[in-house]
């Protein structure tokens, strides 16, 4: 077996769900073919056991010891083949399942990083996440069932041929009867699936309710009084799940009964016919036992075919969701940078608002509403299309990768990833110990690191879950500073930090970025006071420029925005 994952998942064929499934299948064609081979051998070995047992009964009847020994040896040999081929089939099935699931995870993860900022705008992240939670399993199932389904067809054909050669009427009875009895339970499947669906939905809601209680437990216990209400509400939903479960069981139990009754009727019929023929000496008693065994056996491959229809359908639906995500394109395209000369950088200017970020100094934008500053930052960082110049080159002429490398927009929606904190802060992988220490110092984040059991080497959970809002904000700031981009744009970097720390951060930020281009969007007077140049924006355009103190004195609207004084 090859080792997983493959280094390069390849370029998926996303033209349709079927094409995607076929692409996945082609990529693992070898293991798939080998698995199908084992499955065929496995099924046929199982199918032949009842026939060999029937022959054994005949040998006993004839008191033919050598024939009996041969039959015994054949049963053992079939058992050995079945055990070995069955295990190999299982191994290949698991490999194929995982291979398909892993490959899908890889292409989805690569597509997510290709879409980047576009992803949350075009598709709910929940939808993409659910690909990981359920769709990959369905795609794996679809590949897995292929092995057994193909094998079961061979088993059915083998048994049928042998039975018909022994007795045409009996063989035909089994051949026609087994599919009918298998299909006859189909009417039960629809209500069963519906009730299972209801049950799953309710169960999902109940889990969400429980998770909700746990997530809000501190809040709940902090205010108090609501515990009984929540317990009662949970119990109410839990009882609903219970009753839905019983409703599923009431259909399920009928199905299980039917799955005994229907083949049972066929078995009774086979026994009747077989015994009649045996009495007339048309077949031997051994044949009768073989027919009985074969009729019982055939139920399994027939069920496998039903299962295959279901799993392939579900795999198709899952592939549909995958294909939909794979067909999304990033919203903002980069330029080719074909102007020949490399962009020298320099003044970063947003034409729409008039905001100009001068190279090498610390600029601040104070906007009357937070949305305005976010819009400006997004245009300057080219997350949305806009008329922006970087030095003497229009920003949209530069390749997007270059824009991202040179201009970093750090906002409060930025995610913290799970991993060793040191690696998560040093995104370029090039920072020295001193760089990291300096960035943490600037962001006033040393106390956070100090409180961790292993300092910078501690593993942190996803989304920085164990950190408070203010701590997350300082860690994000430290990360942006460590990246040390040519132009750093910070959006409200201290909104959740206490005034003492905010004052220190503002001081240290000005020093740490001295000589580098920095833009901070904020309304905090502590930060604005440290900026070299402050721009006041209202209704999307620049209204005033100057230092914080100058603007406080000359622009009443600015003063009102940043100090929130009445009058």
């Amino acid at each position: 077996m090859r080792s997983l994952p493959v280094a390069d998942p390849g370029t998926p064929d996303a033209r349709s769900p079927i094409r995607y499934l076929l692409w996945v299948a082609r990529r693992q064609a070898g293991p798939l073919a080998v698995g199908i081979g084992y499955a065929i051998v496995w099924w046929i070995a199982m199918a032949l056991v009842p026939i060999a047992v029937g022959a054994g009964i005949d040998a006993i009847r004839a008191e033919d010891t050598s024939a009996l020994l041969i039959c015994g040896a054949v049963v053992l040999a079939l058992g050995t083949v079945q055990a070995v081929a069955g295990t190999m089939r299982h191994r290949m099935a698991v490999f194929n399942w995982l291979s398909a699931a892993y490959r899908t995870v890889q292409v989805i993860a690569r597509q997510a990083t290709r879409l980047g900022a576009t992803l949350p705008k075009r598709v709910s992240t929940g939808e993409v996440v659910s690909v990981g939670n359920s769709d990959i399993a369905h795609i794996g199932n679809a590949l897995d069932i292929l092995l057994r389904a193909v094998g079961s067809v061979f088993a059915i054909v083998t048994v049928t041929v042998i039975l018909i050669r022994t007795s045409v009427p009996l063989g035909l009875t089994v051949l026609v009867g087994v599919p009918i009895m298998t299909v006859a339970v189909a009417p039960l499947l629809r209500p069963l699936h519906r009730r299972q669906h209801e049950h799953r939905d309710l169960q999902g809601e109940l889990s969400t309710r429980a998770a909700d209680i746990v997530a809000g437990l501190r809040v709940l216990r902090g205010v108090g009084g609501g515990e009984q209400v929540f317990a009662d509400r949970y119990a109410g939903e839990s009882q609903k799940v219970r009753h839905a479960g019983v409703r599923v069981a009431s259909v399920q139990s009928v199905l299980e009964g039917a799955q005994i009754l229907l083949p049972g009727l066929l078995i009774a019929g086979v026994t009747w016919l077989g015994a009649t023929f045996a009495l007339r000496d048309e077949i031997t008693t051994g044949d009768l036992v073989a027919f009985y065994g074969a009729a019982v056996f055939l139920i399994a491959p027939m069920r496998t075919l039903t299962e295959a229809a279901d799993k392939l359908a579900k795999g198709h639906v899952a592939a549909g969701r995958v294909v939909r995500i794979l067909n999304l394109e990033p919203e903002v395209a980069g330029g080719t940078g074909d102007s020949g000369a490399a962009c020298q950088g320099g003044l970063l200017r947003d034409v729409a608002s008039g905001v100009a970020v001068r190279p090498g100094i610390f600029t601040a934008v104070a906007a009357a509403s937070p949305e305005e500053s976010i819009a400006i930052a997004d245009r300057l960082g080219r997350y949305t299309d806009g008329d922006v110049d970087f030095g003497d080159v229009p920003l949209d002429r530069l390749p997007l990768a270059e824009v991202r490398r040179r201009i970093l927009v750090a906002d409060n929606g930025a995610a913290l990833f799970a991993g060793r904190l040191r690696d998560e802060l040093d995104t370029t992988g090039k920072a020295s110990e001193e760089d990291l220490a300096a960035a943490l110092h600037t962001a006033c984040a040393e106390d956070i690191i100090g409180a961790l059991p292993d300092g910078l080497d501690s593993e942190v959970a996803e989304a920085g879950r164990e950190f408070s809002g203010g701590q997350q904000q300082r860690l994000r700031l430290a990360r942006a500073l460590t990246a040390d981009p040519e132009v750093l744009i910070l959006v409200e970097p201290t909104s959740a930090v206490d005034a003492h720390s905010e004052a220190r951060i503002a001081d240290r930020l000005a020093k740490a970025r001295s000589g580098r281009t920095t833009l901070v969007c904020t309304t905090s007077p502590l930060v604005l006071d440290r900026a070299d140049h402050v721009i006041y924006v209202e209704e999307g355009v620049v209204r005033a420029r100057g230092t914080h103190r100058e603007l406080l004195a000359t622009a009443p609207a600015y003063a009102a925005t940043v100090t929130r004084e009445e009058g």
Binding site: C71, L76, I108, R114, A249, I260
Partner: protein
């Protein structure tokens, strides 16, 4: 890095609990097992009838074939009916027990002591409520009944084999040792293997979720390669875990399959030889060979579910563990005399030997507004939690009206002091439910007043169904600022005489926060408010300001006094406020 401070029950406790659970409804359990047993008996009559038929045909005895065939049909119909009711009754019982199990667990979670909840972080508890409850559901719903049924069927089949012929039965059990030893070998290793496997799989899907949720950040910081590597590492880890269990099965499966086939061959050959010696009849051989073939099915079920039972046991241990958290407060007999909140010589440490508060003395006058400011990590939040009675001090005392907070029963405590932190949570339910938490009996007019007091009524009115709008996960999404407003509205409704607000408005736009604080102040007039704040206007608007630095109160006084004193607060203020004043 979620700190695992919640206990896990030990094996003996799990076993004892499982036993109690199984025997909680002895009548239902007996009915279920009887039905399954009868169904197995009905199923076993068919090979018996067939054996008789073979025998009679062979001996040339006149047989009524139709009668035998009808008997076969009759017994199988009976079996089908019995199975139907057996499955139904066992599901009823299973669902009932399962519902009780999860309700008991959530009840225990809701009763967890405050200090545990504050410290445990939610990661561990969430994984217990989701993964472990799910795993246990699977166990109770499928694994327990399947193994019980399989054991009943196997017992009855072995009984039938004895009836068919003890000598042949011994031959039929010829592979039992092989099955026994390989299964033991497998089970010893399986549980840990499967737990690792599902943890690695969950890591992989979590990693994908992280990449997706952080897609913009990935683009901004150029983390594409890193995320691809993370995905591939997760997959490699999952593959390693899968390969381990696959290796176990590669050994075990052939042994199991083989042990199903050996008895068929052995009973056939040995039975045939015994027949030739006229020790057994053809009917007996037919019966036994068919029984042995049929035995594979319940055995398979038993073996397939038995490791699921172990996984369920591990989940059960974690669920039961929650019940073992000791209560953190012992109610005393003292009754508070007055509303004065005092801290005397308070010291506190999260880790032994590392005090974060070094002897705090503070008297909060009833009805005053006290602001606490200071750098991050200075101990403001810790002091806030102590003043709200969440933790008890290591040394010294925090009292209300002379009675230590930690000696008040929890419900009484909340009548005195309540805490709202910047941590916010919108519960699934209507907006009204979210406000009503503290006082479920309040009417809409009161709810509206509370929402108005926190400047929230304006946006509540614009929601599609006003107070009836469903919010929280799956419902209307509220912004963090709106969530904080809801938390404050809850507190206004709860109406304790003292409130500790720890950065309770930090997520609200600075421009709106001050308005909110002012309207809140009007509603809370006469209440004692301790506000830990990072915005200085909160301090400016307060009656007194306490500057907390390095676990001590370094400055205490009114805004004007502190500004006049020219300490660290004054420096901060002048910098914050610029020079316009």
């Amino acid at each position: 890095m979620s700190r695992k401070i919640l206990p896990v029950a030990d094996q003996a406790q799990v076993r004892a609990y499982a036993r109690r659970l199984t025997l909680r409804y002895p009548r239902e359990l007996a009915v279920t097992l009887t039905l399954h047993g009868l169904a197995a008996v009905a199923g076993l009559t068919v090979p018996w009838l067939l054996g008789g038929l073979v025998h009679d045909i062979e001996k040339g005895v006149r047989v009524d074939v139709a009668a035998v065939a009808l008997a076969v049909a009759g017994f199988l119909t009976l079996q089908a009916l019995l199975v139907r009711f057996a499955v139904l009754t066992s599901s009823r019982l299973g669902e009932k027990v399962l519902a009780e199990l999860r309700e008991e667990f959530v009840g225990r979670v809701l009763g967890l002591p405050l200090s545990t909840v504050e410290r445990a972080g939610s990661g561990d508890l969430i994984s217990r409520t989701s993964r472990d409850v799910d795993a246990l559901s699977r166990t109770v719903r499928y694994a327990v009944p399947e193994t019980l049924i399989a054991m009943v069927t196997i017992t009855i089949s072995v009984g039938a084999l004895v009836l068919a012929g003890p000598l042949l039965m011994l031959l039929a059990l010829s592979s039992a040792p092989l099955l026994w030893f390989t299964t033991r070998w497998y089970l010893r290793r399986a549980t840990a293997g499967y737990l690792r496997e599902s943890a690695a799989y969950a890591d992989m899907t979590d990693g994908l979720a992280e990449t997706v949720n952080g897609a913009r950040t990935v683009e901004a910081l150029g983390l594409q390669e890193r995320r691809h590597r993370r995905t591939d590492t997760d997959i490699a880890r999952s593959w390693a875990a899968e390969r381990y269990t696959l290796g176990l099965r590669t050994v075990w499966f052939p042994a199991v399959d083989f042990s199903y086939v050996i008895p068929i061959a052995v009973t056939l050959v040995a039975g045939g030889l015994l027949y030739i010696e006229e020790w057994v009849s053809l009917a007996q051989i037919t019966m036994v060979v068919l029984y042995v073939q049929q035995l594979a099915d319940p055995l398979d079920r038993l073996l397939m579910w038995i490791d699921e039972l172990q996984v369920g046991g591990a989940s059960m241990a974690r669920l039961l563990g929650v019940a073992e958290v000791p209560d953190d407060r012992e109610a005393g007999s003292g009754v508070p005399d007055g509303e004065e909140l005092r801290a005397d010589g308070v010291r506190y440490a999260y880790r032994e030997g590392h005090d974060v508060l070094h002897g705090i003395d503070l008297t909060v006058r009833p009805g005053e507004r006290l602001a606490m400011v200071g750098p991050s990590g200075a101990g403001k939040s810790t002091l806030g939690r102590l003043l709200a009675g969440v933790h008890g001090p290591r040394e010294g005392a925090v009292t209300v009206g002379g009675t230590p907070l930690v000696e008040l029963p929890l419900d009484d405590l909340r009548g005195h002091v309540a805490l709202v932190t910047q941590e916010h949570h919108v519960f699934r339910g209507t907006l009204r439910d979210n406000v009503l938490i503290a006082r479920p009996d309040a009417d809409d007019a009161r709810v509206r007043e509370c929402l108005e007091a926190v400047d929230a009524w304006e946006w509540v009115e614009t929601l599609p169904h006003g107070l009836d709008t469903v919010v929280g996960s799956g419902g209307e999404t509220l912004s963090p600022a709106q969530a904080q407003q809801l938390a404050l509205a809850r507190l206004v409704l709860a109406d304790p005489h003292t409130l500790v607000l720890d950065e309770a408005t930090s997520l609200i736009d600075p421009r709106a926060a001050r308005d909110l604080e002012r309207s809140l102040a009007a509603v809370l007039d006469g209440r004692t408010v301790i506000a830990i704040a990072h915005r200085l206007y909160t301090a400016h608007d307060a009656d007194r300001v306490a500057v907390v630095e390095d676990g001590r109160i370094s400055e205490l006084g009114s805004h004007d006094e502190l500004v006049a004193a020219g300490g660290s607060y004054a420096a901060l203020w002048s910098s914050w406020h610029g020079t316009s004043r």
